[in-house]
Symmetry: C2
Subunit: 285 residues, 2 copies
């Protein structure tokens, strides 16, 4: 496995692979790799010839009051995990390498970026879409893999790629969960033992919403109210949102929508946890 | 010369050239080609192996009260000019081809895009940088040529390319002028004979500013006041701006700046005309 810290180096490595006719698969991460990331890497390994993983804790996607400073960092462990997963090249640039002259250029997907997490985290998705555009331009992958846990991020990146005519295919991969249903996330590390037990309420709430919908409930307020009750009953927390939205537009869900995205963001202790599932509406066209 | 109207077609044409080892030169235009465009195309022809010209009257860089509807269109003449200039491929997409699903994704170079023309034409440079990002992603040029007449546009595109790590080199080319100094522009077609004569005041004002600076005047207000006087004396007009700014940052010029950009935007009749020159400050570091 090669480790590139500069743009020049990763471009050279990918250039050689491309010249040899290999397709390039790419997984972009903030580091602190967990089972979710590893599932993306495994799929890239299966489907593409040359697998690149980026490890870059991107400061522009953290707000001034957010957790950039305490975000878990474990670069040696991350590199060992990549090595074990047969990654071909890791791109681990410094902040200075990525933003040598500040960052005045912003890529923004208007509309989608303001909804759900965008309402609670202004600037977050602009930070994400901009750094992903940069990484795509640097690495030049044929296929990039993202996790369904970050459903809104996936939609935004897909729309960016489509609307800016980027020559990369986006493949969304299923959320990987702990035994009790908690979606794997680097931010789960913020939870103490009690909070960790409590945190399974997110998945239970999603399951309850799904059950209601499948039993014919298509009043989104009733669905989200039942979900909220489960979250609140589980212990002290602060709910950023519990939402039932169309899975593509992220507009409030209606009985006419084919697929609902049930999505939530809940702060438990120091951790802001998000999760979602897509539920097919029985009988919708 | 090949003419591609779809993204798929132009990608195929460029792909073949790249496989054959040719460097790709690119000139992006709104159509209504004039001597300025032709000088860019000639330079691309000299310096690169495969020359692509795009002809696309991009609606997103026109404000609601601007001249999109009356902007000159002459596609057959443009194609003949390209053919004569030995262009390899013209990319002439429809609006639907470029913006099939609206345009929610915006690339914005904050800071630079708000100055000079950005103050009078809100959204203009976001429209420009977004469509140029799209065109770069579609065409995939090695080198792209832009005219110094649109100095601010050139700075913005350079910064976008640098900050988004796009693998394209930007080359700025000198402004091409009519005999009386008027910068060539598709919008000169809006002028009647009297306005056309009056319009040479822009170049005369720039020359006056240059003369003052070279004779030791580094008070920018005195320089721009002298330029304004020439514009106003020439006939009825409306001045958007007459500015002396640092040629890189576009911040108000000071004696410490090495190069001043003298820039102006003046409305004469139906035409909004812009022009600029760079003047080296004697003795500045």
């Amino acid at each position: 496995m090669e480790i590139a810290q500069t743009i020049v180096d990763i471009r050279r490595l990918v250039g050689v692979a491309k010249k040899a006719g290999q397709t390039v698969g790419f997984v972009a991460t903030l580091g602190a790799l967990h089972g979710g990331h590893m599932s993306l890497i495994e799929r890239a390994r299966k489907e593409t010839g040359f697998v690149v993983v980026s490890i870059f804790l991107n400061p522009t996607q953290f707000g001034p009051d957010e957790d950039l400073d305490e975000y878990p960092r474990q670069e040696e462990k991350d590199l060992a995990l990549c090595e074990k997963a047969d990654v071909d090249a890791v791109f681990a640039p410094s902040v200075e390498q990525m933003y040598p002259s500040g960052h005045c250029t912003v890529v923004k997907v208007e509309g989608l970026a303001e909804k759900l997490c965008g309402a609670n985290r202004p600037g977050f998705f602009a930070g994400v879409s901009t750094v992903v555009a940069k990484l795509f331009n640097i690495v030049g992958p044929d296929v990039a893999y993202f996790g369904q846990k970050d459903a809104q991020q996936g939609l935004i990146i897909k729309q960016m790629v489509e609307e800016l005519d980027m020559a990369v295919e986006i493949r969304m991969c299923p959320t990987v969960r702990e035994d009790d249903g908690l979606a794997m996330s680097s931010r789960n590390a913020y939870l103490d033992a009690g909070q960790r037990r409590q945190a399974s309420c997110l998945y239970r709430a999603l399951q309850e919403g799904k059950k209601l919908i499948e039993s014919g409930q298509v009043d989104r307020d009733k669905v989200t109210a039942a979900m909220e009750r489960i979250i609140k009953d589980a212990g002290p927390c602060s709910i950023d949102y519990v939402a039932a939205v169309d899975s593509q537009s992220l507009e409030p869900a209606t009985a006419e929508n084919r697929n609902w995205l049930l999505a939530l963001a809940v702060r438990i202790g120091r951790g802001r946890l998000i999760d979602n599932i897509v539920v097919e509406i029985p009988g919708a066209k």
